[in-house]
Symmetry: C2
């Protein structure tokens, strides 16, 4: 992509109505645009990042046999009444249609997925099954001041699994847990992300959150220094020791919840009378699990974790482009390099702008945060190549023109 053609441009000004760091810097760099509290447009650079996160999530859900669907965002009042959540789930946006029926905007989809799965999963032979979607969700939050960390409208991956018995759910739950850690590893977040024990409800002792440690977090967790597990604030009074090694000297830390998984048991199958026929021809209640993860919140988390005073530092797996190619008044030579990178399917943002000075181009590259910066100038060409600098390093080196592709091709 040529930067001269890019829809957005960067700005040095911090947006006045935005208090969260992740939103401030993403707005300044042209990744997102604020429509209102907790409501953001994803702009071309931002949507590229979001789609890359979505695709990593999608690939890992496929490894645990998740089948992708897309459920409605409009959900009828009746299904929420069936689970007693119409009046008891305070973040539901509610509205009335021209048909005088009432609807909620989907904040989560147990109430839609259970009646749906009931239509297809009738026999023990048809389970286990697992379906997921990556979808816009809505939560009528009173307080939405954390940028992408707490949206009134946000992107969520929600998966739901259906099992004949608890042992099968327990086994599947562990495979999803492992898939979640693979996702955090691919996103560069694994070392900072703690499996966090939280309250389980009627059907299991614990549920689990995945909490990424950062001062920007709104959550408080109590971490075990040995096990990379934590206990959340909700249950710390009762469980003030590490659930794995039993150490009692847990340390408080701030964190962002980047995922949560939950054994639902028969809570929803019971509400919707979802039963299956077992091997003996007897009718049994279906056992369910649910597995949430917010790609837009993860995008905000990554920005909070990976940055410096000059801008964002994207992990390569989700960077909008791998390379930011800067032409300093050498557009002819730079265009040839740009074309060669494109021809080799290497993602590159090409700063070909002729009316922008070197300082502004360097500042933009740091702010936008692509992993590698390539500079083409008369000086680098005299030295026979281009200047390469990783966003994470201050070291620069000259790469000969005929070595550029080799440098970046896997």
């Amino acid at each position: 992509m040529k930067q001269s053609q890019l829809f957005t441009k960067t700005t040095k000004e911090t947006p006045k109505d935005e208090t969260s760091f992740n939103a401030q810097i993403l707005i300044r760099a042209g990744f997102i645009d604020k429509v209102g509290a907790g409501m953001y447009n994803f702009l071309p650079l931002g949507l590229r990042v979001l789609n890359k996160i979505n695709n990593i999530v999608r690939e890992e859900m496929a490894t645990v046999s998740g089948q992708e669907v897309l459920m409605t965002a409009l959900t009828p009042k009746e299904v929420w009444q069936a689970t007693d959540r119409w009046d008891n789930f305070d973040v539901l946006f509610k509205l009335t249609g021209n048909d005088d029926k009432e609807y909620a905007l989907g904040a989560t989809h147990e109430e839609i997925v259970t009646p749906l799965a009931k239509k297809f999963l009738c026999s023990y032979k048809e389970m286990p099954k697992s379906i997921f979607q990556i979808q816009v969700k809505f939560r009528n939050e009173k307080r939405a001041k954390a940028g992408l960390l707490r949206g009134r409208e946000f992107i969520m991956k929600d998966m739901y699994s259906f099992h004949t018995d608890q042992a099968d759910l327990d086994e599947y739950y562990e495979t999803v847990k492992a898939a979640y850690f693979r996702i955090y590893e691919r996103l560069g977040l694994k070392d900072l992300t703690y499996l966090t024990y939280s309250s389980g409800g009627a059907f299991s002792k614990f549920s689990h959150e995945f909490q990424t440690l950062t001062e920007a977090g709104e959550d408080h967790v109590y971490i075990c220094p040995d096990c990379q597990v934590a206990v959340n604030r909700e249950i710390i009074a009762e469980h003030n020791f590490c659930p794995v090694c039993k150490r009692a000297d847990l340390t408080e830390a701030k964190a962002i919840e980047v995922g949560n998984i939950f054994k639902l048991g028969t809570k929803f199958s019971s509400a919707f009378d979802m039963k299956y026929m077992d091997q003996n021809g007897d009718s049994q209640e279906v056992i369910m699990g649910c597995y949430g993860m917010g790609p837009s919140r993860i995008m905000g988390t990554i920005v909070e974790v990976f940055n410096d005073e000059r801008g964002i530092i994207w992990p390569e797996s989700i960077a909008p482009f791998k390379i930011h190619l800067l032409s300093l008044k050498e557009n002819k030579a730079a265009t040839a390099i740009y074309q060669e990178l494109i021809n080799n399917n290497i993602e590159v943002l090409f700063d070909d702008r002729e009316d922008v000075g070197a300082g502004a181009k360097f500042a933009d590259a740091d702010l936008i945060g692509c992993p590698y910066r390539l500079v083409v100038s008369s000086k680098t060409l005299e030295r026979g190549g281009v200047e390469l600098k990783a966003r994470t390093s201050d070291q620069m080196e000259i790469i000969p023109l005929d070595q550029i592709i080799n440098q970046f091709k896997r």
Copy 2:
């Protein structure tokens, strides 16, 4: 994908609460699920088709320099008041947030995109620009009985372009028109789809719809037998002749609107005071165009157009799978073929179900409508291969086992 693992199964029963053919057959085949009037879940097979349509649209929008974004579905009341549409656009779903602010669910996005573009497009040097999104849209329809053809919640591609003058918009508009016809060609709809002249508003004599002829259509158009253009009902009283060749004997036909493009002029830039600096340093109003297309409606249209008494007949470009491979009690041989197809990146749905008879498998293949059916049975293996039948034909032929990949690889 193994059919034994597929989340859905087909049904012979026509859903009772569904009067539209496209929804009936898509529900029976397991592509979609009805949540309420004009509200459908996309199931694994249906989402595969929808995503393929989306990707064709996305590719063609890229050819006209469209940059993809994702705007919010929640839109503040103020922006609709600025264009006088809060009280005058009867399909808006309206709701109130916990912040006591009022919102509409996005039915179209001129009111969001114009203030957004105003932030980035300030100079003649920064135009033309064009941005689009593929997004869930909401319309509070009183009557939503046409399945995917008229959703209260549906998928829409909406693109908006920004220009310094009318001539630039006029030129761009024609390139988008051509891109639309490339999309219909790739979807197999081009021969049936008529460029249809409709009312233009203050800034141009006509806007244009793309109308696909079918008895299932809710629209009436008046077609020229020579020019593959039409006039819509709205303007036929004034323009009762072909806009191209001037023939007056137009023929009435029923059709589905599968796209529409519109020269907005300064209607929205004026409402939001979106101006740019021209070459002389003078402030000028931005000229806009908008370009809509509904991938979910297109999916319904294709089902209405391409079917027979046995089921759907998907065009290869958007079929959920290219091949439906049926094992008739020969799962070992069929699994080897399945694996080889997978290894060669050929999309295949493998009916490996052991408790389903041949008749039901054939019926499912016809109902689901993949372009090619491959049958593996003791008979076909005795004849040295598999039986190939195209969904569009009654002819069958035996393909030797070692020729299967060659047959399908491009």
